[in-house]
C-alpha cells in the first residue's frame, strides 16, 4: 500500500513540471489583427475567468528613452501614449510622485482591490456566516440529544477554589473584550446587508462608526488578557498522558464515563491553544490593520512560503511577493476575518459548555469556587492534588524569625 502511494506521489511530482513546460511552450496568440492590442478572444478568456498571460499589455507602457525632447513635437508625454501611461498606472509601474502619503499614495489604480472586495462580499460573508450559524445549530441539536451534563449524585456542599481572582479577572478581560470585538466585527462585515434595511442607512452608518471605534480600541484589552492568560495557564496546558484517556472516552461528553483530568482536560487544552494561537494571529493581523501600511506582513510571509514550496504542494503557482501597500492591508483584513470566524465558532462551543451545557461549570469562573462533587467528576487528579496540598501542615517559621512588617 505504502509503495503504491509513494509511486503515485512520485508520478504526480514528475508530471507537474512536464505540464508546466507544455503550458510555457504554447504558441503566443496571433494579435496582428489588432496591432498587438488585446483581441476579442483575450477579452472572452478573461471574462471566462481563465488565466491569461497579460504581459503583452502589462509591459506595453511606452519607451521614455526614445522620447522626443520636451521642446519637440509630441515630446510632452515622454515617449508614452495616453493608453501606455494609463496601463503603467494600472499595473503599478508608473513613476508617480506625490507630496504626501508616501508609498500608498503613489498607487493610483489597484487591481487587487477588486479581488479583495469580491472575497469580502462573497465567500468571507457566506462561509463565515454559515460557520457561526452551523455551530449554533449543531450545539442546539447536541443539547436536545444529550441534554445538560449533570453532576452525578448530590452536591457535597464543600467547595474548592478552582480559579483565583486574578485568573478570573484575566479570563473575563479576555472574554469580555473578545465578545465585544466579535459583535462589532460582525456589524462591520454584515451591517450594510442585514441591519441597514431595518434600522436605516443613517443609523447603520452611526453604528458602524461606533463599532469601528470600539473595535480598534478594545483590541488592546484583548491583547493584554491574552498575554495574562498565557502566562498563568501555559504550564497547566502542556499535553500529557491523561489527555489520551480523556480523548478515548470523548471527555465524558458522549457517554456516562468521567475520565480523570488535571487542572485542565484535553478539551480545555484544545480551547486554550486555539485561543492563544488563533488569538495571537488575530492580534498580529489586527496590529497591522491598526497601523495602516506600517506593519506589512504578507509579502515576507509569502516569500518564505514560496521558498519552502508550500503553494506547489497543493498544485498552486507561487504566491505574489510584490504587493502594493493596499494589498498588504487587504490580505491582513481577510486573514484577520477568516481566523476570527474560526475562533468565534470555537468560543461559541466554549460558552455553551461553560454555561447551559454543564451543571456547575460556570461557578469555576463566576465565584471561583466549585463543589467537590463537580471537581471529582471532571478534574479528579487536580482535586486530589489540591486536597493533598491542603492536608500538608504549613511550614512553621524558624525559631527566632521576625515576621515581615
Amino acid at each position: 500500500m505504502a509503495r503504491i502511494l509513494l509511486t503515485l506521489v512520485l508520478a504526480l511530482l514528475l508530471a507537474a513540471p512536464v505540464a508546466a513546460q507544455q503550458a510555457d511552450n504554447a504558441p503566443a496568440p496571433d494579435r496582428s489583427a489588432t496591432g498587438g492590442a488585446q483581441t476579442l478572444e483575450d477579452i472572452l478568456a478573461r471574462q471566462r475567468g481563465e488565466k491569461i498571460d497579460d504581459s503583452f499589455r502589462r509591459d506595453a507602457t511606452g519607451d521614455p528613452d526614445s522620447a522626443a525632447g520636451i521642446a519637440g513635437q509630441l515630446g510632452t508625454l515622454g515617449g508614452a501614449s495616453d493608453a501606455e501611461v494609463w496601463r503603467a498606472l494600472r499595473y503599478g509601474t508608473a513613476d508617480v510622485t506625490v507630496s504626501a502619503g508616501g508609498a500608498p499614495a503613489r498607487v493610483l489604480v489597484q487591481n487587487g482591490g477588486m479581488t479583495w472586495l469580491k472575497w469580502r462580499e462573497g465567500p468571507l460573508r457566506t462561509y463565515g456566516g454559515w460557520l457561526l450559524l452551523g455551530t449554533i445549530g449543531a450545539l442546539a441539536l447536541f443539547f436536545l440529544l444529550r441534554g445538560r451534563i449533570r453532576i452525578d449524585g448530590a452536591r457535597t456542599g464543600h467547595t474548592v477554589t478552582r480559579f483565583k481572582a486574578v485568573e478570573r479577572f484575566a479570563h473575563w478581560l479576555l472574554a469580555g473584550s473578545f465578545i465585544v470585538l466579535a459583535l462589532t466585527g460582525l456589524v462591520v462585515l454584515f451591517g450594510r446587508l442585514y441591519l441597514a434595511p431595518y434600522i436605516g442607512k443613517e443609523a447603520n452608518a452611526a453604528l458602524l462608526v461606533w463599532s469601528k471605534w470600539v473595535h480598534n480600541n478594545i483590541a488592546w484589552a484583548f491583547m493584554l488578557g491574552l498575554v495574562m492568560v498565557f502566562a498563568m495557564w501555559v504550564v497547566h496546558n502542556l499535553p500529557n498522558r491523561t489527555d489520551l484517556v480523556w480523548i478515548r472516552q470523548f471527555g465524558g461528553i458522549v457517554g456516562k464515563k468521567h475520565p480523570p483530568a488535571k487542572k485542565f482536560n484535553a478539551g480545555q487544552k484544545l480551547i486554550f491553544w486555539s485561543v492563544i494561537l488563533l488569538g495571537g494571529s488575530i492580534s498580529v493581523s489586527g496590529l497591522s490593520l491598526l497601523f495602516p501600511f506600517e506593519l506589512p506582513l504578507f509579502a515576507k510571509t509569502f516569500t518564505v512560503l514560496n521558498d519552502i514550496g508550500v503553494p506547489g504542494w497543493f498544485g498552486y503557482d507561487p504566491l505574489p511577493v510584490m504587493l502594493a501597500p493596499h494589498e498588504e492591508m487587504q490580505y491582513a483584513q481577510l486573514w484577520h476575518a477568516i481566523v476570527s470566524f474560526v475562533l468565534m465558532a470555537i468560543i461559541i462551543a466554549h460558552i455553551y459548555i461553560g454555561s447551559i451545557g454543564m451543571e456547575g461549570a460556570f461557578d469555576a469562573m463566576g465565584s471561583g469556587e466549585v463543589d467537590e462533587a463537580w471537581a471529582h467528576q471532571h478534574h479528579s487528579i487536580w482535586l486530589e492534588e489540591v486536597q493533598e496540598a491542603k492536608a500538608k501542615p504549613s511550614k512553621s517559621p524558624p525559631p527566632g524569625a521576625t515576621p515581615a512588617e
Partner: protein, 41 residues
Amino acid sequence: MKAMWAGFVAAIVIAVGANYILGEIGFSSADRQTGAAVRLN
C-alpha cells in the same frame, strides 16, 4: 462575580485610555496621512 465585573470595567478603561494615548502621540489618520507640503486647515 467581582472579578468578572472588574475585567469588563478594565476592558472599557483600557479602550478609552488607548484611544487617548494614540491620539496624543500622533497616530490619528489625519496625522499619518499628511506631510510637510499639505495644509490640513
